[in-house]
Subunit: 146 residues, 2 copies
């Protein structure tokens, strides 16, 4: 496998409005995308663009707020009530080849490929097998992301 | 202030050789830069390039291994022995203007601007004031980074 683009950094936040105020007013973000709700994961998501030289957008910041107590970031937020860096998401050209790669490498792959926040296929690899970094793998979107 | 480029994601690692094996052999990194030692911080650092469409390089991964027990990542590693995401580093055009900005915003700025891993001026802002994200601010290098 060849390391792909760092698509986004996932950041768990206890409250989306507080987080958006921080990223807009303190960090100076100019482009925050529309809210996305992922029912299965119990998450409210907002993507924040960061600039990049020579390309449409750089690595995004993905803000993740739980919508219920058993959301996929709730355990993280119980350990880190202020929020914090939750995962890194790297792109691959072929999600099934990547799934086989990490499985063969003996990593705990968390489920089969499934649609992620933008509908493109993703899966996660357990942080304990990845140097403490919960890692999301995303098949590079064929069209530019919204 | 306007949000700048996400220069790198800092990842604390207990052992650099193990971390490099992971990033090269499992994640497929093709370009790992030469070791940097920051005596003041007690750190051994390796930068890993990630690709970006249309630009020379995307956001880098910065691997940080402590060289002594009072390094700047030692406390983090005591809480997270396997390692993990330690900080995000964003670029600004003017380090002194940014320092004044975060100070005026009531954020705990950790010291005055000083040379970072590549010799360009940086400072950190306390994670507890930044939604749990320890944030490094870097003046955009005038020449491409090595």
């Amino acid at each position: 496998m060849q390391l792909g683009r760092l698509n986004h950094v996932g950041i768990a936040v206890p409250d989306m409005e507080t987080a958006l105020a921080h990223w807009r007013d303190v960090m100076g973000a100019r482009c925050v995308h529309e809210p996305i709700v992922i029912e299965r994961a119990g998450l409210l998501i907002r993507f924040v663009d960061t600039p990049a030289d020579g390309s449409m957008h750089g690595t995004q910041v993905e803000l993740l707020q739980p919508l219920r107590e058993d959301s996929t970031v709730s355990e993280f937020l119980r350990a880190n009530p202020a929020g914090g860096q939750h995962h890194l998401c790297f792109e691959v050209p072929d999600i099934h080849a990547a799934h086989a790669w990490f499985t063969q490498a003996g990593k705990r792959v968390l489920g089969e490929p499934r649609p992620g926040a933008h509908g493109h296929p993703i899966f996660f690899v357990h942080g304990d097998d990845m140097g403490g970094v919960l890692t999301e793998i995303l098949e590079t979107p064929k069209e530019p992301q919204p």
